[in-house]
Symmetry: D2
């Protein structure tokens, strides 16, 4: 059950509400986000919901049978949007494309990508500076200095930044230079990191775990939301299966189902979702028509020379072609 | 290596070819299909391919490094099409929709579906009369009598039939009443059935195994082709994964990759691919934009009363909406 | 619900039983096996089971909530054993070892293996003559002639034969030369083959599907049992997962759970279960302590020269070591 | 390549070694652990290994083709053991049992379990105080205060403690109260946590990821080792598959293969590996015979009342029976 609280609620109202909940033996968690205040309750027994709904200061009350609550569409039927400022908005079916290299490598590389994105009318650039790598001996990214460089160049061009954060200790120092924090697949159930991001006012792009279920992804989003941060993007990036013909199995079903089950925007990551450059475009288009609200695509001026993930990275020309096709699809869908 | 033989090749030519192959210690399989004649060879050592190419009666020779040969696009770069007669053709990107109930139930049901399909301009109807069921106590279909009923009605209306064949013993008796034989996921590696269908002149829609790899699907297609039947449709119907939120994981990656690796048409089965009625439309559209050449969709006048698979079956209205969206997508893609 | 019928039941008894079931709107299937007669019923509504239990000629009645019925331990709590004649018995925890090559290759090979088995006191030899192969161009076995050779040698030595049957058309001709029919993983849901084997009086070793669930395996066994053949061995042979370090993931959990859920003997196939020669022994022992009633192990006089599966095949020395360890474990378990 | 350095190596020796490596264009990482000093090198081209081996202060040099290096058995063929002090040692095939509740709940519960373990001669107790939970609203453990309570009781009884650590920020404050840090499946690729634990002198029990590969587990262990902590236990706890009959698929193959590929001790977690109380014993025994060096088992005075994981937790009587069987198996293996 979600109780939506008016911002006019006074202390007396809170007291009465909590007393009522206690009397009904209903456990509750008070959640205050950037936007609203809620009480999340998990009642053990059925009761007349109007007892709560009629209290002063209560805007509305919804039963939510899903195990996840605040991120469920059972409670909020409208679609949530994420406003990044400067007219950059991620909203329902607008299909925001975010693109950039797997790893930030140099000033020259950042500039080349950023200028290309501007030429395409794209306003969000991805790029990793802290890289999770299976081997401790692999390149692990340029770190905070790389982020500052990335941020410096993009800010002047009006481009927003999405980059991966790997640990609690880095959230605060990264925050001034980041527009969207990305939580990677390996950290999808790093609950301490989710808690930390929940207490910040920076949007979070949350990737599904390597073999995470759809419900686990939504529960992880619930961690962030219930700590106070409503600005969450759900990201499908492919799951691990038995099939050796590609890197991951992009779960197109998950796109459609996440849109049904949650009010949060759903973003596709086709680059990791198939892992093969020549097929990234097809998967991006498929995600769009299945309901995705955006996609995050790996591009690089010279994929063959990329520090990481070159085999799944588009060059500028390939991305332009894809972008054009997406525009045609958008038109078709407006009909 | 595939050697493509001219239909002008005389006995002397065959003798010389086989003698040459033997001299080079190259094992070979002679394949005669409805359309052409080939020699499939698996050479153990490299040799000068022109030795073969220059022989009289040899149209062309191609190296094929894939483990599957005749179905590989390494050999045949153009796309294969399936002509069902009466102007019903399944060809590249034309996105043939095939629709109908999971199980054939009655004359009334067949007529209702067939008339609806005609009203939609759709010329291929699916319907099962032999049903593979996990439990021996479940409904197993109306059998051959059901097929004759199905065929009788559709023939008069100009509608082609696709239906599942489960065993070798039934292929001959079913053939007169069938336009496309469907091989189900559980029989995807029933090699005797594949051999039997390879020696018939009826198109085969071959489903991927429940957790079959893409390569296994293409090898199974190779069984059919190498026995003489070129008329094969590859069908992606979802794979089995850990995710409990839906029935199968529709493998959108496989659509794109099958189109790359083979010249055969690729058909999507979104109904089994997600197993949830409200999402079937999205998956169908995704399959189209990812490159599929058609889709086979479960529909029923009253899905709630279907003998089987009702939860993943569209009603006529839902299907009409989907069909309309597909037409819009086709237009967008023509640009 | 399983109704167990006395062999003294007369026609009047049958009439009364079926009339009673019909009156109670209970659907039923009459099953007569080599051993007993049963009625399998799937009641739609609860009723007083004593109404049936008190009928003359009814030995006992059991509710079975499992989706599989005759193979369920909810009905039969004692363990089923398979008597192959000549004092060769597969029974609870006796851990029958069956061993032999993947493929029957020659008289010399059969004799070498059979003599080795005799020296080890092992009485069941495996060997394939019809081989399911992913590629149509691979070696597909010596066929019926190979089987006759295999049978001829083993019969004189008092060794029983287990071999794979791939299609209905071959069951009758193979039967005189076979002691146990093996159904391979790819045919685990070939329902026509299961039906055919259900109507024969030859034991069946039924392998789990490549990614078949435990319930599906038991349902497939139900097919065989409900057609009249009680002599079934359930075989765990590894499932397909994401892990690339070995061939299949041997499901040790399944061994323990199959023993709980069914009264049928459970056999391990460690050779396919891990696919790596040096680990086959460990997996065999693990299967034993987890509850398996036997194991089927690939051995060959010269694994490096085996026609197929050499990488997972033990030589005679390796098998002897394993056999000795198994004997020690058996002693430990008798304490 | 692993270069093992003598503790007699002087500055001149280091200089010469690094100069030689640089001259040969070999990248290197210097690793100093509690026990030894190593250089880990990843040469790009083949070279004469004796050039390094002959340098003064170099104990030995080994080529390691595995992607993981210091944890590979290609370098160190003897088995590593973990000495916890007070005669508590985890070593090859000694099969150390560690047992205790999923969650630490109360002084009474800790005491009951600890006393029971002592009566069984078991010296390592597991118990969680920081619990990773899918839902933010679930019980998350008693935290640091719970750990102090746990530690206080166990210390006086001579029992060692294994408990999960979830984040870098807690490693320092937990360390004084912990004998073995457990890294949970969800943190198996939390590289920052692995780095932090690598710089401590506390043994680490590292669980395989929910669908982590064997190689990824070993790479994660390499993170810890390469930061200086050699005291690592590898833990197989079941992987996520399609099978719904149990919680996870215990990967018995992984036990056997980890023992082959690494010199580190391998521990089984049968409780999570199957998730069903009545089968935990069978899986534990299977893990032993497949080569495991120990097992970590969930037990509770009253599993039905456990705060978490009750369905997979043994009571004292069940554990005693299992312990007795393990002793019999150990005897059998000594023969």
């Amino acid at each position: 059950m979600i109780i939506h609280i008016s911002d006019q609620m006074d202390q007396q109202g809170y007291d009465l509400l909590e007393k009522t909940l206690t009397r009904l033996s209903i456990g509750f968690t008070s959640v205050t986000t950037q936007r609203q205040q809620y009480y999340v309750c998990i009642p053990k027994e059925p009761f007349d919901i109007r007892v709560i709904g009629n209290l002063s200061g209560v805007l509305d009350v919804h039963r939510v049978s899903d195990p996840f609550k605040l991120v469920s569409s059972q409670w909020k039927t409208g679609r949530s949007a994420i406003d990044l400022g400067n007219d950059v908005l991620i909203s329902d079916r607008d299909f925001s494309l975010m693109a950039g290299p797997c790893s930030i490598e140099s000033e020259k590389q950042i500039t080349a990508v950023a200028d290309f994105l501007l030429s395409q009318g794209i306003r969000i650039m991805r790029g990793g500076v802290f890289k999770p790598r299976s081997s401790p001996y692999a390149f692990r990214g340029l770190g905070l200095e790389g982020l500052k460089l990335f941020h410096g160049i993009c800010r002047t061009k009006g481009i927003k930044i999405v980059t991966e954060v790997m640990q609690v200790a880095e959230t605060e120092q990264m925050a001034p230079y980041v527009d969207i924090f990305q939580v990677g697949a390996r950290n999808s159930q790093n609950f301490n990191l989710l808690d930390a991001l929940g207490s910040m006012d920076v949007p979070v792009l949350l990737k599904r775990g390597i073999s995470g279920t759809i419900e686990e992804l939504l529960q992880s989003a619930e961690y962030i939301f219930s700590k106070g941060n409503e600005k969450i993007l759900l990201c499908e990036r492919g799951i691990r299966t038995f099939e050796p013909a590609y890197r991951n199995t992009f779960d197109i079903n998950a796109i459609s189902i996440l849109k049904e089950k949650s009010h949060l925007p759903v973003i596709a990551d086709p680059s990791h979702g198939i892992g093969l450059r020549k097929h990234v475009g097809n998967i991006t288009m498929a995600a769009f028509v299945a309901g995705a609200d955006g996609a995050i695509v790996e591009i690089h001026p010279e994929p063959e020379r990329a520090f990481s993930d070159g085999q799944q990275t588009l060059d500028f020309n390939e991305f332009s072609c894809l972008h054009k096709k997406i525009r045609h699809l958008k038109e078709a869908f407006r009909k």
